[in-house]
Point group: C2
Chain length 339, copies 2
C-alpha cells in the first residue's frame, strides 16, 4: 500500500519541530527562509499535501463536528463530551472525539488532519503543552480558513473565538470561603502548576478568600503538582509535614488521594480533615466518604459549546465581531468529606 | 449554508429504521423492493450520496484509524484508547475516537460517515443495542469494501475479522474460585443482562465455579442489571434481602456501589462481605477500601488491536483466510476489599 508522509515524519527527518513544519508549509514569515525552503522541498518530494481534500469539499457540509480534549482520565471531559453529543445529535450533527494527550504536537496533527473538509468545526480545550508554549498558530490557521472553533474550560485570551468557561477564580474563592465559614484556619491547597490556566485561576481564588478573611498565606500549605505521575507522594508529603485541618483540591483525583493518604497517617475525613474537591465525577460520588465538590456542570458546558458552534455554522452571515464568552454557573455539592 | 440530508433524516421522514435506509441505499435484498425504491428516490431527491468521497480517495491512505467505543463512563474503554493511541502513534497513525453511546443507530451513522475515505480502518467494541439486535450489516459492508475492522471485548462470532478478547468465562471462573478458596459459601453475582456478550460469559464462569465446588446455585444471589439508571437500588435490594458473604461484580461501578450499599446496611467490607470487581480502573484503585479486581489490561488489549489493524493495513497481500483472535491474559489484583 502506498504510504503518505506525515507532518511528524517530515519533522523527524529534518530534525525540526512539528510546529516549524506546519508553519513552513504555510510559508509563515516566523520561520527562516532557509528552513521554509527545506521543508517545502522535502514535502514536495514525498508528496505531502496539506489540506488536499479541502478544495473539492469547499462549501460541502459534513454535519460532523470534532471535540478535542486533553485527556480522558478526569471524568469532567467525559461529561463535556456527553453534553456536546446530546446537543449535536439533536441538531443532526455527528461528533468525533480527538485526544491531544496533553501534547502540543498531537493537537496540531489532529487539527491539520480534520481541518481538510472532514468536519465542519471544532470544540476544544487546550493541552497543557500548548498552554505552556503559548503557540496557537494551528488554531488561528483553522479560524482564518473559515472554520469555526469554540474553546471551553482551558481557553486563552490570545485567540478570538467563542468560549465557554466557568468562573474558576470565583468557584475556588467560594469553596475556600465555605471552609473558612466552617471555622477552619489551616486550609491547604492542592493545585496544578500555574501554566494550566484553570489551575492558576483556582489558586488565585483560594488566595483571595484567605486574604479577604485575614488568614496568613502559608506557602507550605500550597502544593502545585507538576507531574501527575508522582502526585500521591507529593500529597502524602504535604499531609505528613504540616498541621492541616482542611484541603481544597482542584480536581477529584487529588481530593480522593488526599483522603487515602490522610487515612494512611491515621487521620480521618471529615473528623480530622475536611476536603473539598473540584469536578462532580464518579470518583467524588462513589468514594467513601463521598466528596464535597465544586460541580463544573460539564454536561451543560458541552451542550452550550455545541449550541454556539452549530449556531455559527448555520448562521446566514458571518458575524466575527460578536464572539461570545459564556460563563457556566458552578455549585458546591455538599457530601460526606466536609464536616 | 447548504444542508446535506443525513441517513437519520431520511429514516425519520420515511418512518423506517436507519438500518433499513442504509440497506436500501445499498440495494440489499433483505429490504422489499417497494421500500428500496422509496428510499432511493428520496435520497436522490435530497442529494444524499453515500460514500461520495470514496472514489476520489481510493488507494489514498489517511494514516488515521478510528476506534468506536460504546461509552466512556467505564474506565476500561479509556485504557483501551490509551493502548491504541500508543501503538498507533508509534507507527505514524492518528486515532479518532467515536462513541456509539450504546446505540445501534449511532454505530451505523459513525461507520457510514468515516468509511468514506476519512480513515483507513476501524477498531471497535459493539454497542449493547447492536448485540441485542444482532444486526451487523454495517460492519459487514465496511469489511466488504476492503476496509479492515478489528473487534475487541464485545465481539460477535457472526463477523469474520481480527478480534482481541479476554477469556471472560475463565476470568470470572478464577475470581469466583478465589472467593470459594477463601471459604465463602454465599457468593452473589452482580452482572449485566445476557445479551451483553461479556456479561453472559462472566455469568457462565461464575456458575461453573460454583458447580465445580458443589455449591448450589441460588438464583436470588444472581442480579442481572438491565438499566444502569437504577443499579444502586437493585444492588441495595440484593444486599438487604439476602445473607451474602462475598460478591463478584462484573464491573467496578457495580463493585464500588456494593461497598457503599453494604456500608449503609451497617456491613463492613471486607470484614462482613468480601468483594471482587472487574476492570482495574481509577475507582478500584482509589476507593476506600480499594477493590480487589480482575484486571483486563485494557492498555494491552488496545495496543494489540492497533497492532493487528496496522499489520493488516500494511500487508503486501490480503490474507482474509487468516483472521486471528488474540486472547489477552487477565490477572487478579488483590487489594483491600477481600479478606
Amino acid at each position: 500500500m502506498k504510504r503518505k508522509v506525515t507532518l511528524k515524519q517530515i519533522a523527524k527527518e529534518l530534525d525540526v519541530s512539528i510546529s516549524t513544519v506546519s508553519k513552513s508549509l504555510r510559508n509563515s514569515l516566523e520561520i527562516s527562509e532557509d528552513t521554509r525552503q527545506k521543508v517545502q522541498a522535502f514535502a514536495k518530494l514525498y508528496n505531502y499535501k496539506p489540506n488536499n481534500i479541502a478544495l473539492s469539499l469547499k462549501n460541502k457540509k459534513t454535519k460532523t463536528i470534532c471535540i478535542i480534549i486533553p485527556e480522558i482520565i478526569h471524568h469532567f471531559f467525559a461529561t463535556v463530551i456527553s453534553g456536546v453529543e446530546h446537543v449535536a445529535n439533536e441538531n443532526g450533527y455527528n461528533v468525533l472525539v480527538c485526544l491531544s494527550d496533553e501534547s502540543f504536537d498531537k493537537e496540531v496533527i489532529n487539527m491539520e488532519m480534520l481541518a481538510n473538509g472532514s468536519i465542519d468545526g471544532f470544540i476544544m480545550s487546550l493541552s497543557k503543552e500548548t498552554q505552556q508554549k503559548k503557540d496557537f498558530h494551528h488554531i488561528v490557521e483553522v479560524i482564518n480558513q473559515g472554520m469555526p472553533v469554540v474553546m471551553f474550560d482551558r481557553v486563552t485570551n490570545e485567540i478570538l473565538c467563542d468560549k465557554v468557561i466557568i468562573d474558576d477564580n470565583l468557584a475556588a474563592f467560594n469553596a475556600t470561603q465555605h471552609l473558612i465559614d466552617k471555622g477552619f484556619k489551616k486550609i491547604a491547597l492542592i493545585s496544578t502548576v500555574d501554566y494550566v490556566s484553570v489551575g492558576k485561576l483556582r489558586t488565585e481564588g483560594y488566595i483571595k478568600a484567605l486574604k479577604n478573611n485575614d488568614i496568613k498565606i502559608d506557602e507550605n500549605l500550597i502544593l502545585k503538582i507538576e507531574d501527575t505521575e508522582n502526585f500521591e507522594e507529593a500529597i502524602a508529603g504535604l499531609l505528613a509535614n504540616n498541621d492541616i485541618d482542611a484541603i481544597f483540591a482542584v480536581n477529584e483525583l487529588f481530593a480522593v488521594t488526599a483522603i487515602k493518604e490522610a487515612n494512611k497517617l491515621g487521620k480521618k475525613v471529615p473528623e480530622d480533615i475536611s476536603i473539598i474537591g473540584f469536578t462532580d465525577g464518579i470518583i467524588s460520588k462513589y468514594s467513601s466518604p463521598s466528596i464535597t465538590t465544586v460541580s463544573q456542570n460539564g454536561v451543560k458546558m458541552g451542550g452550550k459549546a455545541a449550541k454556539m458552534l452549530i449556531e455559527r455554522l448555520e448562521a446566514e452571515e458571518e458575524d466575527e465581531e460578536q464572539y461570545r464568552t459564556e460563563v457556566i454557573e458552578t455549585e458546591l455539592v455538599e457530601r460526606e468529606s466536609t464536616k
